[in-house]
């Protein structure tokens, strides 16, 4: 993206020269702090409301007077959220693994091999970046209908098993793997598949992690295609299920907030654990992708 290409790590380090603590800096810190607290208010209210009793829900207090996990028990005993959660986990995990394997394999091939047709394949995959998902949902639906893929895991997953974005991200990172390493492995008698898996892949682990985060988050929150392809309540993913759940007129807001919290808390927890790592991944993907 820019001609100066510092690594994501140096970009995220705090500035070396310490600054004097004058009033301006304190004011700046305070305003940014208040802004930051405001940013997480919707998340805070979602969690707080999910812990409130019905009579307290319309109270603007952030801290529940008598916190309860009753809403969670109720929503999970209902059973549907449990299945939607499982469906989402399975779909996001399988799609992520598929993307990691295929995107890196294609990225590696386009980066390190010279063969007839290379440019055509490269340009063709580049072109698919331009095609919006929304244009493809109708043909995908027709395809799923004629092959009987509607309302199945495969039907939800198949469009996202490989992405052009991931392919180019991986291709960029394989550029940094020295050709000498590959040549040396070849002389040692490894075949090309072994070289890719045992020599090249370990060298691009940070990129694989960044890609995994993006693909998992994208599939965990995906809404349009799962909404179209699923019919039965058992096959819904969490966003589709939550959308229908919220729409049932008799459902109370504290239960909707509980459902929303169930769908959000896993990604938030993952983020809080791997915070530095995830932000670095976002920067890498943003700069190189």
């Amino acid at each position: 993206m820019s001609d100066i290409a510092p690594s994501a790590d140096t970009l995220l380090m705090a500035k070396p020269a310490p600054r004097s603590r004058n009033m301006g800096q304190i004011l700046r810190w305070l305003i940014l702090f208040i802004g930051g607290i405001a940013m997480i208010m919707p998340i805070a209210y979602m969690i707080s409301t999910s812990l409130k009793w019905p009579h307290e829900v319309y109270n603007v207090n952030l801290i529940p007077e008598e916190p309860t996990i009753e809403n969670y028990t109720y929503v999970l005993e209902d059973g549907r959220f449990y299945w939607w959660f499982v469906n989402s986990i399975i779909i996001a995990t399988v799609t992520t693994i598929c993307n990691l394997l295929f995107d890196s394999l294609v990225g590696y091939t386009l980066c390190k091999f010279r063969f007839p047709g290379r440019t055509i394949v490269f340009i063709a995959i580049l072109c698919t970046l331009m095609i919006p998902t929304e244009m493809l949902v109708i043909p995908w639906y027709l395809m799923s209908q004629s092959f009987g893929w509607l309302d199945s895991y495969w039907g939800i997953m198949f469009p996202g098993l490989m992405t052009a974005f991931g392919t180019f991200l991986m291709k960029q990172f394989f550029e940094s793997v020295p050709d000498d390493f590959i040549e040396a492995a070849r002389i040692d008698g490894l075949n090309e598949l072994q070289i890719w898996w045992t020599v090249a892949m370990p060298l691009v682990k940070p990129a694989l992690a960044a890609l995994a985060i993006f693909v998992f988050l994208g599939n965990w929150t995906a809404f349009l295609w799962p909404l179209i392809v699923t019919n039965s309540v058992d096959m819904y993913t969490i966003p589709v299920g939550l959308s229908g759940f919220g729409d049932e007129a008799d459902v109370a807001w504290e239960l909707i907030m509980t459902g929303a919290a169930i769908s959000t808390i896993p990604t938030l927890v993952v983020f809080l654990i791997f915070q530095r790592f995830i932000i670095r991944g976002v920067v890498m993907a943003g700069l190189k992708g």
Binding site: M39, V60, T109, E134, F223, L224, L268, V282, V283
Partner: protein, 295 residues
């Protein structure tokens, strides 16, 4: 037989072996459907009956459809409000956050956290915020100050900005992080030189920082533009009782496509709408390429 090949020929065999499944995938799951969508846009089809040739009929219908023009306008309002607002906000936050050291990582985390949430879940949270007294948080707070309540989602004028707000909110953290990386990539020697010359902060900002951030700005503008042009999850979930309502005041193009195809089963008409969306996105991307090239 494989043993008799030269090293170069072996490489070609391996390359195509690696690419076989992906090439099949991209052909069947990306290119064929693209062609199919364009083909269907010239046909009449309700999923049950036969496909009949319609020529330009679907496009003519679209041109004469007042709902389409309303939706077209809405889509561009999302773009023209959302992109500048999120660009300015994220730049201001990143610019100041970049100058702080105390609890830097913590503040950054606060701003980034909404990016990790799911659009559907947050649309429902914001929808609750927007409800009337005694349910909604915003109106309850306003009532606490004695301010008359505001109709957010029921009003034809307020509904679109109300739907846009959580979309801007959720995307802000990503843009802040990208901006901060862009700011860090500017060599400090420029700033040192400016300091020696005694240049004021505003001149430094407009003459050094912003010009050098241009690639970052172009990236963020394009990335968020495409996002706002394809807005769907927020609108659908905040208006499920009347998707795109009230009176189509919040309906974006993707919601119209979804409605036409999967509620109206007018596949040809919906496909024509997707082709229009594709064209809009293509034009935006081409403008981006031009801007990038001119730097």
């Amino acid at each position: 037989m494989y043993r008799n090949l030269t090293i170069r020929q072996k490489q070609i065999v391996w390359a195509w072996a690696f690419l076989a499944i992906p090439v099949l995938f991209y052909t069947v799951i990306r290119f064929y459907p693209t062609g199919n969508a364009i083909l269907i846009s010239f046909q009449n089809w309700n999923l049950l009956g036969d496909r009949t040739w319609a020529g330009m009929e679907n496009y003519q219908k679209l041109w004469n459809d007042p709902v389409f023009w309303k939706v077209f306008k809405n889509t561009f309002i999302y773009l023209l409000l959302g992109t500048p607002i999120s660009l300015v906000l994220s730049f201001v936050i990143a610019y100041h956050l970049d100058k702080l050291r105390f609890m830097h990582g913590f503040l950054r985390m606060l701003y980034f956290l909404p990016f990790m949430t799911s659009a559907v879940a947050m649309a429902w949270v914001w929808r609750w915020f927007y409800q009337d007294v005694p349910i909604g948080l915003f109106n309850n707070i306003l009532a606490g100050f004695g301010i008359p309540q505001i109709a957010f989602l029921q009003s034809t004028t307020n509904a679109l900005p109300a739907v846009l707000a959580p979309a801007v909110w959720a995307g802000l953290g990503f843009q802040v992080i990208i901006f901060m990386a862009g700011l860090r990539a500017i060599p400090t020697s420029y700033y040192e030189a400016a300091k020696i010359d005694g240049v004021g902060w505003f001149t430094v900002l407009t003459q050094i920082t912003i010009p050098l951030l241009r690639p970052t700005i172009v990236f963020i503008v394009v990335f968020s533009s495409i996002g706002f042009l394809r807005i769907f999850d927020h609108v659908f979930n905040m208006t499920t009782n009347n998707p795109g309502g009230p009176l189509n005041a919040t309906k974006p193009l993707v919601l119209m496509i979804y409605d036409t195809a999967f509620n109206g089963f007018d596949m040809g008409y919906a496909a024509a709408q997707t082709v229009v969306l594709f064209t809009i996105l293509l034009i935006v991307s081409l403008i981006q390429l031009r801007l990038l090239r001119s730097t």
